[in-house]
């Protein structure tokens, strides 16, 4: 019966040690930020005497919720996020005693449209994307269910190829940017938005009508990550997929990127703002943990240092568009300034 006592002692031991000090940083959140965070974590572990932080994926929203679960060693220290924190998250944080959060913006990520490398070239605009994907489009002055089956029907300049777009699923942080910068922009550009408003819809209803995508199988929402999109694109060469700039840059031998409004995506064009579809990348730090979890402040400072997030650092090499205002962020981190209320 010896193993039985061993079990009991293991369980007793487990129950008795909730106060065991944690000495490694815990990070969770966006899967877009995940590769950047692992690159920094690895370099941090190599160059500092602190253990390498543990980095999890799982999504921006889920990560922020975990951050807001409370203060203490069994809650996470940093949440990565590919979209800005929302008021409801801040309220949740407050309710759970997480008063001060530091918002750190460390760079930008471009969102690109890419097709199979052997296929024809695409020069897209938001208006083309809207006409190809929306449930209802404006045709000859009237709102009609989307009749387009071919890219050349949308725009004669586009290749004669069936429409099939692999959009990011609604769980993705990418989807938000995709909706606002491509679909709603296209809705406005094609005049469909004005037509919706003219038909008596209020602002919210117009926006909702704009974001309604066709459901006849020409638009497919991909809930998995970019590797799934890439696999679907391999299977169907007609498809156009939506990827992060860094993912595309690591797979340039398989993907052909489309220009958007005449601009080819690259770190330079995203940084200058010429390429229209990009979003800031953030991480949120629980200020109460600085000084409690060893190395937390050093890690945050290392993350935003020029050696890492600067234009010649490893993150930029991986595909991050470095933030022109990085110096301000560094000063903010050094002073441990918590974020103010959302504007």
């Amino acid at each position: 019966m010896k193993p039985f006592y061993l079990t009991v002692s293991v369980l007793a031991f487990a129950a008795a040690m909730p106060a065991a000090a944690r000495d490694q940083i815990q990070i969770t959140g966006s899967s877009t930020v995940l590769p950047y965070a692992t690159i920094v974590a690895e370099a941090f572990g190599e160059n500092f005497d602190f253990p390498t932080p543990v980095v999890e994926g799982g999504g921006s929203g889920a990560g922020r919720k975990k951050l807001c679960e409370g203060v203490g060693e069994n809650t996470v220290d940093i949440a990565n996020s590919s979209s800005r924190i929302s008021q409801s998250d801040i309220d949740l944080c407050k309710a759970n005693g997480v008063e001060e959060i530091m918002e750190v913006r460390f760079g930008y990520d471009g969102i690109v449209f890419a097709s199979a490398v052997d296929g024809p070239e695409f020069a897209l605009t938001p208006a083309d994307m809207y006409n190809a994907l929306a449930e209802t489009v404006l045709k000859d002055g009237a709102l009609v269910p989307n009749p387009h089956a071919n890219w050349s029907e949308v725009n004669a300049a586009l290749p004669d190829q069936e429409i099939l777009v692999l959009s990011p699923g609604t769980k993705h942080g990418t989807r938000e940017v995709y909706d606002t910068k491509v679909i709603i922009q296209g809705c406005e550009d094609t005049g469909a938005m004005a037509a919706f408003t003219a038909s008596g819809m209020d602002e919210d209803a117009t926006e909702a009508a704009c974001m309604e995508l066709r459901t006849d199988g020409r638009n497919i929402d991909i809930d998995g990550d970019y590797t799934e999109t890439l696999a679907r694109l391999d299977a169907d060469k007609n498809a156009i997929g939506v990827f992060g700039l860094s993912f595309y840059q690591n797979n340039t031998d398989k993907l052909r990127v489309a220009t958007m409004s005449g601009v080819a995506p690259s770190a330079e064009t995203v940084a200058s703002g010429e390429y229209p579809i990009s979003r800031p990348l953030f991480f949120y730090v629980k200020k109460a943990h600085i000084g409690v979890i060893p190395g937390l402040k050093e890690f945050v400072e290392f993350f935003v240092s020029d050696d890492m997030a600067g234009p010649n650092g490893p993150l930029a090499e991986y595909g991050l568009v470095s933030d022109p205002e990085l110096a301000a962020t560094q000063a903010m981190v050094a002073a441990e300034t918590p974020m103010g209320p959302l504007q």
Binding site: L6, T7, A14, R22, Q26, N47, T252
Partner: protein, 450 residues
């Protein structure tokens, strides 16, 4: 179903013979042939599926067991690595991997010049890019552990960059390199020369089994070290927690418990528990072990507790079946010569049921080894770069597990990780095969039939 006619008034029946096939018999025979055919089709379909799966896994994964390395002498110059010149560990630490990267890069370029290997269109920086980014960290750790190395020249064997490795394995070709941001055809021509000169070699990839995970920029350095340790820790704890509890519960339920409504309810619920989707146990683990009991996230202890909950019903069911299979005559005989109930169970029933219990336990562990879903929620699907320390403290350290590593590598951008992911599947499959074979051998060796 014999057709022996009973004695009685003779009835008129059609003449039948087993030598001439009647229509009815033909139909029945045809049905039998068809049924056999369906069975064969079903089996060959599933075998074909299995074969395709194994074929793709091995095709994409076997290459991860080989790894390209670069060997060249590296001069560890005191000026760059120890600017203060006092060999003080504190000061030595101030030189980061960026500094070591430069040292490696310069030594590599110098070696190529000395050996007279040149390639038009490849800059010194591009030559340096052929070295893995992981090498600088390894070299730094080596120097910090042994500061006497500074000032000497060592023969370094370091990892080559992922694309170089891919080129030697045929994954990267001149055609893909034209469109690749990370390598160009000129660099590949240089690699060909390096291979002929013996500077680049491909050898068995021990690092795949010992290295920890690596970030997206260093697929060549990624290994299963932390995952193997994590899985081993978890299996050990699952074994220690599940077997005593499971066996005790089964013995009580089979031999001692009265048969009433309560034990019936327990029995039904054990079967139900065995069918609960594993993700549910993950949610439970997050709520109870981490949020309520305050155990550390990502630790193997929480992972083992969650997986134990999942494995326990399987072990109880298998154990009960093997206890039940011990014939009652053995119990009767033991009780008949005056053994107590407890003595009967522990001296006679349990030893006879042992092979079945072992088999059930091993099969339960094999399922547990491949479980990913519950680990997602307790933070074990993560990037963990430090090995967990030795048990028992190590049980509280963060770690990953084999199937988790497969999952996280499969979702990385660099194609080299897909190869690693398939390699990890092969390792996992090998463990599963070993466990299943052990279960079968144990059963063959010790099982008794009555």
């Amino acid at each position: 179903m014999t057709d022996i006619s009973a004695a009685g008034p003779a009835r008129h029946r059609p003449r039948q013979s087993i030598l001439t096939a009647s229509a009815n018999m033909k139909r029945r025979n045809a049905a039998e042939v068809r049924f056999k055919l369906y069975g064969l089709i079903a089996i060959s379909l599933s075998l074909a599926m299995l074969a395709t799966m194994l074929f793709t896994i091995f095709r994409d994964g076997v290459s991860s067991f080989r790894q390209a390395t670069l060997s060249f002498p590296v001069e560890l110059s005191a000026e760059t690595l120890d600017p203060t010149g006092n060999r003080n560990p504190e000061d030595l630490r101030k030189v980061t991997t960026v500094g070591y990267q430069k040292v490696l890069s310069q030594a590599f370029v110098a070696e190529l010049q000395a050996r007279g290997i040149t390639q038009d269109g490849v800059s010194d920086k591009q030559i340096g890019d052929l070295i893995s980014r992981d090498a600088a960290g390894t070299l730094r750790a080596q120097v910090l552990a042994n500061p006497d190395l500074i000032g000497t020249t060592i023969d370094a064997t370091i990892l080559a960059a992922g694309r170089v490795d891919g080129f030697l394995k045929g994954r990267v070709t001149f055609e893909t390199a034209v469109r690749d941001n990370q390598i160009n055809p000129d660099q590949l021509r240089l690699v060909e020369q390096l291979r002929d000169a013996g500077i680049v070699q491909s050898s068995f990839n021990w690092g795949f089994f010992t290295n920890p995970d690596a970030s997206d920029q260093r697929p060549e350095a990624a290994g299963l070290g932390v995952a193997l340790l994590g899985s081993a820790y978890m299996m050990l704890m699952v074994l220690v927690m599940c077997v005593p509890v499971g066996v005790a519960a089964s013995i009580y339920l089979e031999e001692f418990a009265p048969k009433n409504r309560w034990t019936d309810a327990i029995e039904v619920n054990i079967s139900n528990l065995a069918a609960v989707p594993s993700i549910v146990f993950g949610i439970l683990g997050l709520a109870i072990f981490i949020n309520f009991a305050g155990m550390p996230q990502s630790s193997t202890l929480v992972g083992a507790l969650v997986i134990s909950l999942m494995t326990l019903p399987t072990i109880i069911i298998a154990t009960r079946a093997s206890i039940r299979a011990v014939p009652p005559s053995i119990r009767d005989a033991a009780l008949g010569v005056g053994a107590s109930k407890m003595q009967t169970v522990f001296h006679h029933v349990l030893p006879l049921a042992m092979p079945g219990i072992l088999t059930g336990t091993i099969l339960g562990l094999a399922t547990a080894l491949g479980e990913t879903a519950p680990l997602l929620l307790i933070g074990m699907v993560a990037f963990v770069d430090n090995y967990p320390s030795a048990p028992p403290e190590g049980f509280l350290d963060p770690a990953t597990a084999l199937p988790v590593q497969v999952f996280s590598w499969a979702s990385r951008a660099d194609p080299a990780f897909i190869e690693r992911s398939n390699g990890a599947i092969i390792v996992l499959l090998v463990f599963l095969v070993i466990m299943n074979v052990a279960a079968i051998l144990l059963r063959r060796r010790f099982e008794r039939r009555w």
